[in-house]
């Protein structure tokens, strides 16, 4: 893949397979810490999604990786080389190993599409013919071969981001940074851009680090996810396992729009002590979520239970299930029985309260 630029320094064996490694990176603006001790690794060939609310430090983090922002302390290793404290001049050749795409595309309006895509190669010192040949290849890859001579202003948002992606790939980078690349796009265009990123990741084996505030983005493309809050990584793991069992409150809150939630009107009438029915949430993931759970449950129970809400999602080819059920509260032993039954099948069960008014 990489014929144009050689890696700056060979990675030491201990870090082989890691493209990025951050160790306690700190950065503050004035008195507010933007990054408060971030440690993180990005493995070769993976897509890592970093998610957080606005102001959580995502942008600062991604900008530290190519030196657009300098860390105050900590170490940042890119392909085994420590980039912290490097001067702007030393960072320049290193940045050619890292492509970046932006929320607002940042295409040069005075240049045509092909000139935009060829710019990283011009910076690298490649001849014009070669540059344009490579630009044509890349425009072909992103499906915009016919727009080579157009100016960015005549393109739609999705097309602009495709040009941005082509440009980021021009110098054959080892790492692609995506800074909220789909946040300015409509849902349909977002999907097509994410499909393209996934495609590039698979075809070229390109490592991608993307930051976003949308769980949907992480869900559809990322292999692993790291959740950032107030400048710290609060949770990290395989996307499906974090979706199945989120630990940090911020993760739960970010997931609330994408995971089944107990409907508001039921949540509003829940009582913590007593009611007609007990409401339970059930979380399962992996093979357990594929079993004949409800058939088994209804066979095992003398009394009926009621499915309130929920469903099974499939993330990274793993089923991730989340249900809400209502169990009659009249039989005091029943809820306990249900819980034991589910727990024995690898589910996480949580008692949410008692429904006081079941029709």
């Amino acid at each position: 893949m990489n014929s144009v630029v050689s890696a700056p320094t060979a990675a030491p064996p201990a870090t082989a397979g890691e493209v990025v490694r951050l160790t306690s990176v700190k950065r503050r603006f004035g008195t507010t810490p933007a990054l408060d001790g971030v440690s993180l690794t990005v493995r070769k060939g993976e897509i890592l999604g970093i998610i957080g609310r606005s102001g959580a430090g995502k942008s600062t983090l991604i900008r530290c990786l190519n030196g657009l922002e300098q860390a105050d302390s900590g170490e940042i290793h890119i392909e085994g080389r420590n980039i912290t404290g490097l001067t702007e001049k030393d960072l320049q050749p290193l940045r050619r190993r890292i492509g970046m795409i932006f929320q607002h595309f940042n295409l040069l309006s005075a240049k045509t599409v092909e000139e935009n895509v060829a710019l990283p190669l011009k910076i690298e010192g490649l001849g014009k013919a070669e540059r344009l040949k490579r630009a044509a290849e890349l425009l072909d890859l992103v499906g915009l071969a016919d727009k080579a001579k157009a100016y960015p202003s005549s393109l739609s948002g999705g097309q602009k981001q495709r040009v941005g992606i082509a440009r980021a790939l021009a110098a054959r980078p080892a790492l692609l940074l995506s800074d909220e690349a789909t946040s300015a796009l409509d849902p349909e265009t977002t999907r097509s851009i994410l499909v393209l990123l996934k495609d590039i990741n698979r075809k070229l084996g390109l490592t991608i680090l993307l930051i976003t505030h949308e769980m949907e983005v992480v869900r559809s493309v990322a292999d692993r996810v790291a959740v950032i809050d107030a400048g710290r990584i609060v949770e990290e793991g395989q996307v499906w396992s974090v979706f199945a069992d989120p630990q940090a409150p911020i993760t739960r809150s970010l997931l609330s729009g994408i995971r089944p939630q107990l409907p508001d009107y039921i949540a509003a009438r829940l009582s913590p002590v007593s009611g007609v029915e007990q409401i339970l949430s059930i979380d399962m993931a992996g093979p357990a979520a594929q079993g004949a759970l409800f058939a088994d449950l209804s066979q095992a129970l003398p009394q009926s239970f009621r499915l309130v809400h929920g469903g099974i999602d499939h993330i990274q080819n793993q089923p991730v299930a989340r249900f809400f059920i209502a169990v009659p509260a009249s039989d005091a032993a029943l809820p306990e029985k249900v819980r034991n039954f589910l727990k024995a099948r690898g589910a996480r069960v949580e008692v949410l309260g008692y429904d006081t008014d079941h029709a």
Partner: protein, 217 residues
Amino acid sequence: MTPIMLELLFRSLWETIVMTGASGIISLAAGLPLGLALVATSRGGIAEKPWLNSVLGAIVNGFRSVPFIILLVALIPLTRLIVGTALGTWAAIVPLAIAATPYYARIAEVSLREVDRGLIDAVRAMGGNRWTIIREVLVPEALPGIIAGFTVTLVTLVGASAMAGAIGAGGLGDLAIRYGYQRFETTVMIAVVIVLIILVCGIQWLGDRLVARLDHK
């Protein structure tokens, strides 16, 4: 109007074009780099140097505060040094260029400052250096504004060149003052004004066309 007056009018027009054109080109060549320096050295700029920025800013403001007629006289020794004489069309070009350079630098500065920071980030992220940023981002992206500002500067120079009559530079303004105003020749005055209107409209029209062609935003 007599044929002699007509000839005088054409000669004056030519003198105005020479003064405006030559001082305009000099102010573009000197003012654009100065504008770039003002933007680059400012806080958050690509070559942040606050003290240099203050010094440059003070020099620019200093030259811009002096009324042109005063500058015209004050610069006589310098003019004599450069052109060899303090009188005539070529002698007027020195003070005109020196007055127009800081003026144009400020106009260019405004256009350059409006270039989206994201574009600079994008080119930095590609591994571009400052020179790349200037050549590939700042100047091309601000070019429509740079040209529009140059048009404004040229029109201002047409006006300023009228004062250059004070050092015998000639030109349309001088003609209007000496013949039209001092000798009550209304016809000359009207003719000069019409020619000036055509000249200014022509400059503006050319500038606007060029901007329209260059602007891809």
